[in-house]
């Protein structure tokens, strides 16, 4: 172990642990190929319950662990416990189906939530936030490659071999997780660190969660509608399924920093639309699978890395990163769950009389119409937060001087100066109205006038102009 440690630094360990553990998660409890195969072979009546129950318990696990994990050492301990538990839970599948299967799947799914949420501490500490996108991409690529290997083993060799493989993956995950550092290098876990603009995390996080939920509803529907249509091509789906996803991750990972990723997002929206059109037009054969899956999973890869990278950047905004990651990922799981349940209801209920694919297509279209709007708002909020952090990092006197000097240049009135200085401190309209004892309507009108005078459109523009002006002055 002493030989391995210097070679594998914290960054690599972080990637390895996540890749290995996530591969197991994707292969078994999280709509994994092994779970589906086991349900199919054993023909158990509670198969649907197992699939949706595991997703639901994973969701609960993420939420609960985001609330209870407060220190890095606790996160590490929970990760180790959950990996060991998942190893034990996997061995249950070698037995004949019984209530133990339900307990193993549900409790394992719950505990995986804590492992994934706890990983946030290591993701945050191992690199600078601008580099986190690479760690996330590497981890997702690693986990998907491993998942493909486990799936292929399960399909082409046997399910039992696939299960043994997945246990081996967990053993490696346990080994690398035990090497993870126990404590923060810079600050003590329980130290009260003042993070600027922390109170403003809620709004961008809520918007991001909404963004993720809408996005993953279509993925959930995809599992239910497209999956069964190509179930006869199991040999192909076992390995090709995640290939476009991995390629998309690789492309996104290696894009230059200056490249505007929003454009790619719009390409992904078009890809989802086209995949559904292709699904409706073509017969469900090998060629159509290649087209549909490439478009759909490619888009999923783009989307996933997009929101994962935002979540990664957000980890710095709160003293407890597992809370941010836990809540963010739980919205992803929730979206999948909602999409899956809706898809299942439509397939097996009276809605089946209506063309299910058409209904799904409409839902997906509505989702993708909403995404650019949400994306726009999200970017504005993220910019605001970035500028806010920069401004609030300055001493009060310096802040006031900058604001005053700038306001004089902008020909603002004394009242507008008062409002603008509160606005750039991240206060809401309501807070400003309370502080100045004026109505919210008055605050809005003054802000409209300020924006008009400075020829800007948003609070983030105001902060940007303010900072740029200060740089130019100096």
């Amino acid at each position: 172990m002493k030989i391995i440690k210097p070679v594998i630094n914290e960054r690599r360990l972080t990637i390895l642990v996540f890749s290995l553990f996530f591969a197991w998660l994707l292969s078994i409890p999280f709509e994994g190929e092994i779970l589906y195969t086991l349900i199919e072979i054993t023909k158990i009546s509670y198969g649907t319950f197992l699939i949706f129950g595991s997703i639901f318990f994973h969701f609960i696990g993420l939420i609960v662990s985001s609330l209870i994990i407060k220190t890095k050492s606790r996160a590490r301990l929970l990760m180790l416990i959950s990996i060991i538990y998942c190893m034990i839970a996997t061995t249950v599948f070698f037995m004949t189906p019984s209530v133990l299967w339900i307990i193993a799947v549900l409790s394992g799914s719950f505990l995986t939530g804590s492992c994934v949420a706890g990983w946030a501490f290591f993701l945050k500490n191992s690199t600078h936030r601008s580099e986190r996108i690479k760690i996330i991409a590497d981890s997702l690529i690693g986990s998907n490659v491993l998942m493909i290997l486990i799936n292929m083993t399960a399909v082409h060799v046997s399910v039992q071999t696939g299960l043994i493989f997945s246990i081996g993956v967990l053993i490696l995950a346990l080994l690398f997780a035990s090497m993870l550092p126990k404590k923060d290098d810079e600050k003590k876990d329980n130290e009260d660190i003042s993070i600027p603009g922390q109170s403003n995390v809620i709004k961008p996080l809520a918007l991001l969660c909404l963004f993720i939920v809408i996005l993953t509803i279509s993925s959930g529907l995809m599992y239910q509608v497209q999956g069964p249509a190509y179930s006869h091509l199991r040999g192909l789906t076992s390995w090709y399924w995640a290939i476009p996803y991995i390629i998309a991750l690789l492309v996104m990972r290696n894009l230059p920093k200056k490249f505007n990723r929003t454009y790619i997002l719009y390409v992904a929206i078009a890809m989802i639309g086209l995949s559904y059109i292709a699904f409706m037009i073509f017969e469900h054969n090998v060629i159509s699978y290649f087209i549909v899956n490439t478009l759909m999973l490619g888009a999923c890869g783009i989307y996933d890395l997009f929101w994962w990278s935002i979540l990664g950047e957000m980890l710095d905004w709160h003293r407890n990163p597992s809370r941010i990651l836990g809540i963010g990922l739980s919205s992803n799981v929730l979206g999948l769950l909602v999409g899956g349940v809706v898809g299942r209801i439509m397939i097996f209920s009276e809605f089946h009389k209506v063309n299910t694919v058409m209904v799904v297509f409409v839902v997906v279209c509505i989702s993708i119409i909403l995404l650019p709007i949400l994306n726009k708002h999200l970017l504005v909020l993220l910019n605001e937060h970035a500028y806010l952090n920069k401004l609030l990092g300055m001493p009060d006197d310096e802040q006031n001087k900058i604001v005053k000097r700038f306001m004089e240049m902008g020909h603002l009135t004394a009242r507008e100066c008062e409002i603008a200085s509160l606005l750039i401190k991240g206060k809401t309209y309501r807070m400003i109205s309370h502080e100045l004892s004026i109505s919210e309507n008055t605050v809005k009108t003054h802000i409209k006038n300020i924006y008009s005078k400075l020829n800007i459109k948003s609070r983030s523009d105001l902060m940007n102009v303010l900072i740029s002006n200060e740089i130019l002055t100096n």
């Binding site: 009135t413 004394a414 009242r415 004026i438 109505s439 309507n441 008055t442 006038n449 008009s452």
Partner: protein, 201 residues
């Protein structure tokens, strides 16, 4: 006009608001009543419109005429409702940001004719409210340009780059301290430094 207990409004120069000011006097409650009336007209029109569209399937000429008439009435009442709603919003904004208020006011025009209807008048940084009539400035492209304070009237110039309006609002003779207070408020809220042209009698 010289009567110290007689408050008046005096409109000068390119007085686009002359007619509206002459008509006079309403308050926020009256704007609300107007808005309510507009909604009361709009709602049944829309109801009938939907009723006719959904219930009568025949495409007779009579139905077409009724539909067109109702649509026309709906559009007009909708426009009026929106206008009243905007007026109400503006009136509230002006009252919330009051710099000075005068009540009651007697309106007098430049040609000496007087309308002895008493009205309330509120001056704020966002405009002047003469009951339901709203004169807007410091919103959009209309800006407040100059303010002149006299012992018994205030002269306000406002407008866009293309067009300017001046309005004189006469009030009860007030002392220097009050004028100074009003001047400070104007400066704080609007950035305009009023010219104080106070003359002792």
């Amino acid at each position: 006009m010289g009567d110290s207990y007689l408050y008046s409004v005096y409109i000068k120069l390119k007085a686009v608001h002359k007619k509206t000011l002459m008509k006079g006097a309403y308050d926020v409650k009256r704007i609300k009543v107007r808005l309510f009336i507009c909604i009361s007209i709009l709602a049944p029109i829309i109801f009938f419109l939907f009723f006719i569209i959904t219930k009568f399937e025949s495409s007779s000429q009579f139905k077409t005429i009724i539909l067109m008439t109702l649509s026309f009435l709906a559009v007009i009442s909708l426009v009026l409702t929106i206008k009243q709603f905007q007026n109400l919003k503006q009136a509230k904004l002006i009252i919330e940001n009051k710099i000075m208020s005068i009540q009651p006011v007697l309106i007098k025009t430049q040609d000496g004719q007087s309308d002895e209807q008493s009205i309330d008048m509120t001056i704020s940084c966002f405009g002047i409210l003469l009951n339901t009539k709203v004169i807007r400035f410091n919103q959009g492209k209309v800006h407040l340009k100059t303010v002149e304070l006299y012992h018994d009237y205030i002269s306000i110039t406002y407008g866009s780059n293309k067009k300017e309006n001046q309005i004189r609002l006469l009030y009860k003779k007030i002392d220097q301290n009050q004028i100074n207070d009003i001047s400070k408020k104007f400066h704080f809220e609007t950035g305009i430094v009023p010219k104080i042209l106070y003359q002792e009698d």
